[in-house]
């Protein structure tokens, strides 16, 4: 088993591994922030601090043959599904070792062997695509499941509506997960959306739906498991709303100045890493010392990965001409 598949098995089997993965995601995101701030990486980036429990909880339930359509805010889900910090950070840094060979960048994570289809940067685009993967599974008669993870603001775009309706009418084995992190870019959800409980929109499609606590990895696991099992056993799609919070700005440039005073601090009390830590410690699974060393180890590891990525080669110029299409036979001749 290769490293990334082993990483996947770890989060599936082991709650300490899940905790460690959440710590890893947090550390990667913090370091990505630093790299951008220092001007060492170009373009833009969308971080997911505060949303680690959803990523890891989801990955711990899905099989590698299930598919995940995530977004530009995809480092956490990529790491959770098993991609290594090297291929994630390598891609963010545009290196040949990146999961997309360095031509994709921060917004484009992918590993087909782990079920991570290319993340899309177009709001809502992954929803019909995930339904399409489920359509393949249904037609092929296999019991894999498609998953689309998207934000709160995305529930206002046409593809959300059309995708959920299609999935419902065809009873596709797909799970739609709305990661309600309270903001779409700089807009609080209530500025753009007249209802509060976004999962209620599933009523328009006669689709089962519920909310869950996205800050608690166990709550995520429970909810996702229910929906995935329904899908796998022919019960059709589900809309889950995971209530989370985006600790960082929307993207590179954003300092989050629009937040109401105290909101961030209030949500930080339910930091998903803290929530898990508390539970692990309370149940005696880990000690405070364990936790401290997990965190300091992780800092070191990620620094090493960054050093590796820094030293890694740029993609060859030829890379930009590859993987575009299969030239038609008429042209090959």
């Amino acid at each position: 088993m290769n490293t990334s598949m082993q990483r996947r098995v770890d989060v599936q089997e082991n709650e300490i591994a899940r905790y460690e993965r959440m710590v890893e995601i947090r550390e990667v995101e913090e370091q990505v922030f630093e790299l951008f701030a220092a001007g060492e990486v170009r373009g833009t980036t969308h971080l997911c601090q505060g949303q680690e429990a959803l990523a890891v909880g989801l990955a711990s339930i899905l099989r590698p043959t299930d598919t995940v359509l995530a977004t530009y805010r995809g480092h956490g889900i990529a790491l959770a599904l098993g991609l290594t910090p090297e291929v994630v950070l390598g891609e963010v840094m545009g290196k040949a070792i990146g999961c997309c060979g360095g031509v994709g960048g921060s917004m484009h994570m992918c590993d087909m062997s782990l079920g991570l289809l290319p993340t899309s940067t177009i709001v809502g685009a992954g929803i019909p695509i995930a339904a399409g993967t489920a359509l393949a599974f249904q037609t092929q008669g296999v019991d894999n499941v498609g998953v689309s993870v998207f934000g709160d603001g995305t529930t206002n775009i046409g593809a959300f509506h059309e995708g959920l309706n299609l999935a419902s009418i065809w009873k596709l084995p797909v799970v739609f997960i709305c990661d309600n992190n309270v903001y779409g870019e700089y807009s609080r959800i209530e500025v753009t959306t007249p209802i509060e409980d976004l999962h209620m929109r599933a009523e328009s499609y006669k689709m089962p739906h519920f909310a869950l606590d996205g800050m608690d990895v166990e709550a995520v696991r429970k909810g996702v498991k229910e929906a995935v099992e329904r899908a796998r056993s022919g019960g059709g799609p589900t809309l889950i709303e995971a209530k989370t919070y985006r600790f960082a700005g929307h993207s590179r440039a954003d300092q989050g100045l629009y937040r109401p005073e105290g909101e961030l601090e209030e949500w930080r009390k339910r930091d998903p890493i803290k929530v898990t830590e508390d539970s692990l410690v309370a149940r005696g699974v880990l000690t405070l010392e364990n936790i401290a060393s997990i965190k300091s180890d992780m800092k070191r590891i990620i620094q090493e990965v960054i050093a590796t990525c820094n030293a890694a080669p740029e993609p060859a110029l030829a890379a930009m001409f590859e993987n575009i299409w299969t030239p038609p036979k008429a042209l090959q001749a």
């Binding site: 399409g132 030239p327 038609p328």
Partner: protein
Amino acid sequence: MAVMRVRQAISTALADEMRADSSVMIFGEDVAAAEGPFKTSEGLLTEFGPLRVRDTPISEMAFTGAAVGAAIMGMKPVVEIMFMEFLGVALDQLVTEAAKMRYLSNGTLSVPMVVRASSGAGVGFGSQHSQTLVNWVAATPGLKVVCPSDAQSAYSLIRAAIQDPDPVMVLEPRALYAERGEVDTGLKIEIGAARLLRRGSAITVVTLGQMVNICRSAIEASGIDAELIDLATIVPWDRQAVLESVKKTGRLVVVEEAPESGGWGSEIVATVTAQLFNQLKGAPFRITTPDVPVPFNGALEARFIPTAEDIARQLAHAIKTGENPKTWWSLEGLK
């Protein structure tokens, strides 16, 4: 060899591919129970059943996107956009998702999907249901675009499109659906290969879709010894075939059912000019529609599409004078 209508050639190609490959499936609005608004999926639901032949809600974005996902996971979906204009509510999935997925997966996946759309003018559907709109899908690295001109090329190009490992857009000239032609189901037309339909030495006429027959009429009526090339594939177009022909004839006209501004033919003219400048006997030129929305009225629509008479006039003028002919609307002082 059977004689069939273009719409039957399409149904037959779909059926033959579905028989040959169980991963081929089709979906779209009223393609299953009703066998297609243009009867281009006749018999498919009956033969292949409701798992592989599906009616969709009116939601082009959803079902085009579903094709992307299904294609990545091992199916070969063929979706129908009833009128090309409707891609305007779903373009994202084809050009921003499907066409870039191979690139964005570092080459670890492919998206063998086909999007079929009826296109073009001639049957009185008015300005929002009659355009060709090649421009929407051009300039999209990763996407192939083909356009049949008769029953044979409809059959062969649909099969080639389904067999292709990448997304392929098929623009089907709506005005041809009822036209009959011979179909050899064993004949392959490769994507990227033009069809040389008539040899000639006076001028090279490059065209596609429903303009092919009209150009043929123009050539026959005028008695001009033109070489007629049906491009068949627009992206990537057959540079070799066109360049070789123009090397021989020294003259080029591209006949397009597309507005003068933004039409696909400019690229052919520009490429040929750049590569064969010193071998040209006259300026390559284009015959297009005027820069207007497609009018409904029959007399107007009949003038909107380049006519055989006007093409013959322009060919004759170009050969005789070596000069660039005027458009009919500038001759008539209409613009």
